[in-house]
């Protein structure tokens, strides 16, 4: 079930993967909400993050900086991160700035979750 938390951010979990939905304009206000939600999900034990950009038309400089911060936090937590449904203009921006060196891009949320599930390890039972 989708849960709007920290104001306008929608998110839900698929196993140990958290899917967080970015808003139409990723700026300081919405970026900080997404960042808080990602941190919360990681703290709750999520091992992977999908940030879904299906509603996102524009990402500004602050948005980029915040996304880099999320990538940093995820890396430090040992969690993987995938951006899904990113529009062409934003893909070009992320490519140009080098964000795509640190995240995997997926066509949509489904593909992102599927992609991440391949890496999920089954606990070994002795």
């Amino acid at each position: 079930m989708d849960t709007p938390s920290g104001g306008l951010v929608r998110s839900h979990c698929v196993g140990t993967t958290a899917v967080v939905y970015a808003s139409d304009y990723l700026n300081k206000l919405s970026g900080e909400k997404i960042e808080r939600e990602c941190r919360r999900q990681l703290k709750c034990g999520c091992r992977a993050l999908v940030i879904d950009f299906s509603d996102t038309k524009l990402v500004n400089s602050i948005g980029v900086s915040i996304l880099l911060g999320i990538i940093d936090v995820a890396e430090k937590s040992g969690a993987r991160i995938v951006f899904s449904d990113v529009n062409n203009q934003t893909v070009e921006l992320f490519d140009m700035l080098g964000l795509t060196r640190h995240v995997v891009l997926a066509k949509d949320e489904q593909e992102a979750v599927l992609n991440l599930s391949r890496f999920e390890t089954t606990p070994v039972v002795h």
């Binding site: 300081k28 400089s61 900086s65 915040i66 911060g69 940093d72 070009e92 140009m96 964000l99 060196r101």
Partner: protein, 419 residues
Amino acid sequence: MEPSTQKLIHTFGALADLGQEIAGTGDFTEMVRTSLHLLLGTLALRRGAVVDCSGAGPLRCVAVWGLGEQAVNSFDIDEGEMESFLGCEIADSLVKNSSTANRFLTRHHDKLAHEGIELVVPMIVRGEVTGLVLLGGKASGEEFSNDDFETIRAMVRHIGVGIHTHRLLEQLAQRAGENRRLYDELRAIYRDTVRAFAAAIDIKDKYTQGHSERVGKYSEIIAREMGWSEEEVEGIQIAGYLHDIGKLIVDRDIINAPYRIDAKSSSELNRHPSAGYEILAPIRHPYADIPLMAKHHHERLDGRGYPDGLTDEQIPLGAKIVSLADSFDAMTTDRPYRRRRSFEDVVQDLRENSGKQFDGKVVAAFARAILKEVRGETKDRRITKMLGKSYLEGEHVETLLTDLIADLEADSHAKAQTF
């Protein structure tokens, strides 16, 4: 879109946002934090910090992203190192080039590299290093290009000026606050001096000691009840303290006569409002009209007062308030030739003389203020203290006051309809 065009649009957008952020009047720390985000996001730098180093000593972190605040604050800088930034090109501020003349980079090279800081850019305002911007590497893993350096230089300059301007405004606000405190202290000194004067005036009249102080307090209470501003209330309190200052020139024997004085002495005594005006007029009071309130506190609405025989609208409202406070205190304190009057008598006097001697609206305001104390609606019990606890006791007191207020308000309403 060509990557170079897109980069240009992205950078322009960030510069526009930065200008807006710096020109804003919002929270200072938030402004610096947002500015840092804009800089990092423009070139996709993974970490950074803005630090204050307006003097030698430890760096003070103002905003940080992707770095530990404690780690940033653990750096320190000396005067020589600050100066060494002044002659450096931005390319000399690369941590990997720390063999250059930049002494700060040389000394802290290993620690900076350990924290992932690749570039240390000084914020220079009016030829002085006011802070540093510590920057991590690009997310792309590429080296900084000359274009990147230009962008960083422009944005850091903006941030530096923003911080500097904010500090100047803070200093201005601090100085304004200090001036305000000094002004308040001066006003307190002025008030204390005036109260000392009031005591000096009252000492001359052995039967009315404390009269000026009480008139000041009654005047303040009435003015506050009438909705005057705090500044105006303070002013009328001063006028109350000083209303009888002209008595200083009246013969002590006339003031202290233990009987009703004759016409000649009365004429001498009646000079005191004008004399008071002459004493007070040359003084630059911090409040308006104090000399006029002293001059006209014996005027009556019906024109039978003195010194000028003014009528209703000609009499300043402040003088009407002081007049009522003065008469009320005269009626409610013992005099050499009579005992003070009962509260019932006083209310009757106020009722009969409203519209003749006193302004009905002023009387009604005073009655409301007394009623609030009688009903215990205010913590302030100053009127009761001045009159003595037993003076306002008894169930009839509340009725007297409510009836008086109702009658005066009805009169006022009728008068308004006539006009």
